[in-house]
């Protein structure tokens, strides 16, 4: 068994982890970045479409191009990288001493550190979670699997495709299948509105005449060896299938694009508090979880719709790790709760001190037009022409807005303008 020492261990070599590792090293910390695949980059390596980096780098890049920018930055930063390395567990031995147990090609490695930045991404939701029954023949893929097959390995997973879910991943895969000569029979969405950006609805579905079935659900998959058809039904307001509305769509492939859930197994096992609304850990403004010195960033923290936010969170967690390592804890007088209120499903971070600038990420429950995004305790009201669940709200609050206000907690809400 080998041992190593460093200030910060970063778990996950995707955008959030790479940004966290590079930033930590740039701030003068010794860093070990642990990635379980044989290369850095994470999911953007299989995203060949543009829309990456507009906020973070000021350029419109493809996912692949964005990934290389961060890979180069990690290499320049001097952060040490362990590839093909799997984190088995994390032992908290003391307030500022953790041991990350890693299974690596060279054997078991114990990495002793003061702070951990957890950026292990998200997993795709499965058929079981969305309640689709029936057969389980060949021809069922998650959107991420289909994307990996097509865009990293050049394999077309099927010819006649039904896509479950109209989030951006589902819409983008619909276009990929159409461009490669497959027939996309339908994109089926259970909610009455599309899950993804309107840009993607237009450019991925309308451009290719792909039908979008809103307020519909796939209730059953049928097929012996290979998928033969799906049974689709209309759903009522309670999102349950309406009896008598079922119809068949013949197809050979089903792609599940039913959203992501943060990968938090390791954090849960350590006893970190989880927010049921995000599925990710409860964090403060430096993205520290309820375990001192363990930070979270990217889709492991909250499912982001822009890679830019994931990378930004990685950097923020690195700033937190730096403060933690230097002071053996975060120097803060007290934490105040941030609570979601009207038409807000979640707000991250969950606690703020009022002593630093902070970025709050939130998502609405339902689309609304002509609204104010408000934090009454700070006297903050910001107009928005429209809010949609597909597009995160990102609020930058500078330290000065807290100085003028007295508050026990903050409530973030979206209210009709008036």
């Amino acid at each position: 068994m080998r041992e190593r020492n460093c200030d910060t261990v970063v778990i996950g070599g995707g955008p959030a982890g790479m940004a966290a590792a590079a930033k930590s090293a740039e701030l003068g910390l010794s860093v070990v970045l642990i990635e379980n695949r044989d290369l850095l980059g994470g999911i953007p390596l299989q995203c060949i479409h543009p829309g990456f980096g507009l906020h973070y780098l000021g350029e419109d890049l493809t996912g692949t191009q964005f990934a290389y920018r961060l890979i180069d930055r990690v290499e320049r930063s001097g952060a040490e990288v362990m590839l093909k390395a799997h984190v088995h567990s994390i032992d908290v031995e003391a307030h500022d001493e953790k041991v990350v147990n890693v299974v690596a090609p060279e054997g078991v490695v114990k990495v002793r550190c003061k702070a951990v930045i957890y950026a292990a991404g998200a997993r795709e939701r499965t058929l079981f979670e969305i309640g689709v029954v029936g057969d389980r023949p060949a021809g069922i893929f998650t959107a991420g699997e289909a994307q990996l097959l097509m865009d990293l390995y050049g394999v077309l997973p099927g010819r006649e495709v039904v896509i479950l879910g109209s989030g951006d991943v589902g819409l983008i895969m619909a276009r990929r299948f159409a461009l490669e000569g497959a027939k996309v029979k339908a994109v089926v969405e259970i909610l009455p509105w599309p899950g993804g950006l309107m840009r993607n609805v237009v450019q991925c579905l309308k451009d290719f005449d792909i039908p979008l079935l809103l307020s519909h659900a796939v209730v059953k998959i049928v097929g012996k060896r290979r998928v033969e058809k799906v049974v689709v039904a209309k759903v009522g307001e309670d999102l349950r299938p309406l009896p008598g509305t079922e119809f068949d769509i013949p197809c050979d492939t089903v792609v599940i694009a039913a959203g992501l859930r943060p990968n938090v197994d390791l954090l849960e096992r350590m006893g970190a508090a989880i927010d049921p609304a995000t599925g990710g850990p409860v964090v403060n403004e430096l993205l520290e979880t309820t375990i001192p010195g363990v930070f979270a960033a990217g889709n492991a923290l909250v499912v982001n719709d822009l890679v830019d936010y994931a990378a930004e969170q990685g950097e923020r967690a690195a700033e937190g790790a730096k403060l933690f390592v230097e002071n053996s804890g975060l120097p803060t007088v007290g934490w105040k709760r941030v609570e979601p209120s009207r038409n807000v499903r979640f707000a991250v971070p969950h606690y703020i001190s009022g002593e630093r600038d902070v970025i709050v990420y939130a998502r609405v429950q339902k689309p609304e037009r002509n609204v104010m995004v408000q934090v009454p305790e700070l006297g903050l009201r910001r107009f928005a022409i429209a809010v949609r669940p597909a597009e995160m709200i990102r609020l930058e609050l500078s330290r000065s807005v807290f100085e003028r206000a007295e508050f026990e907690k903050l409530t973030l809400g979206v209210v009709p303008r008036g």
């Binding site: 390596l45 060949i48 479409h49 543009p50 493809t62 692949t64 191009q65 290389y68 097509m150 865009d151 990293l152 390995y153 050049g154 461009l179 490669e180 950006l197 309107m198 840009r199 609805v201 237009v202 450019q203 309308k206 451009d207 037009r369 928005a384 022409i385 429209a386 809010v387 949609r388 597009e391």
Partner: protein, 130 residues
């Protein structure tokens, strides 16, 4: 042309635009702002899109490389780009930003991933030169 309905993608408001020709001039209704009117004009006169796909690679550590058009091409030309890439095969190594097709629909086709050379049966360590 009769009335055409479009969804504006300029901002999250996603206005539904209705456009029609009145005495040779394009009238756009439903736009919340001037940018929506401009979007409808562009989208009806000359809609353009970036095209992304993958191209076969010989002797690479990955079997395909991802590509994008250097600029958006006319929507009507998307199929030509995909057809041009369908039968293309390039030899590794492929560098980020390498031009794989000089001109398709007025754009260049550019590699957006690196593919390293993998030597093996039929694949000498460096590319064959003719």
């Amino acid at each position: 042309m009769g009335e055409v309905e479009l969804v504006c993608i300029v901002c999250p408001a996603s206005c539904t635009l209705r456009a029609r020709l009145v005495e040779g001039e394009l009238k756009v209704e439903g736009a919340g702002c001037a940018r929506g009117v401009e979007y409808a004009r562009r989208e009806l006169a000359n809609p353009v899109r970036h095209v992304m796909t993958v191209v076969k690679v010989r002797c690479g550590d990955l079997p395909v490389v991802s590509v994008i058009t250097s600029k958006p091409v006319p929507k009507s030309c998307i199929e030509n780009v995909v057809k041009a890439t369908a039968n293309l095969e390039v030899e590794a190594p492929v560098e980020l930003g390498q031009v794989l097709i000089e001109d398709v629909c007025g754009a260049a086709l550019i590699a957006t991933r690196k593919v390293k050379r993998a030597s093996g049966a039929g694949c000498p360590a460096s590319p064959t030169t003719l």
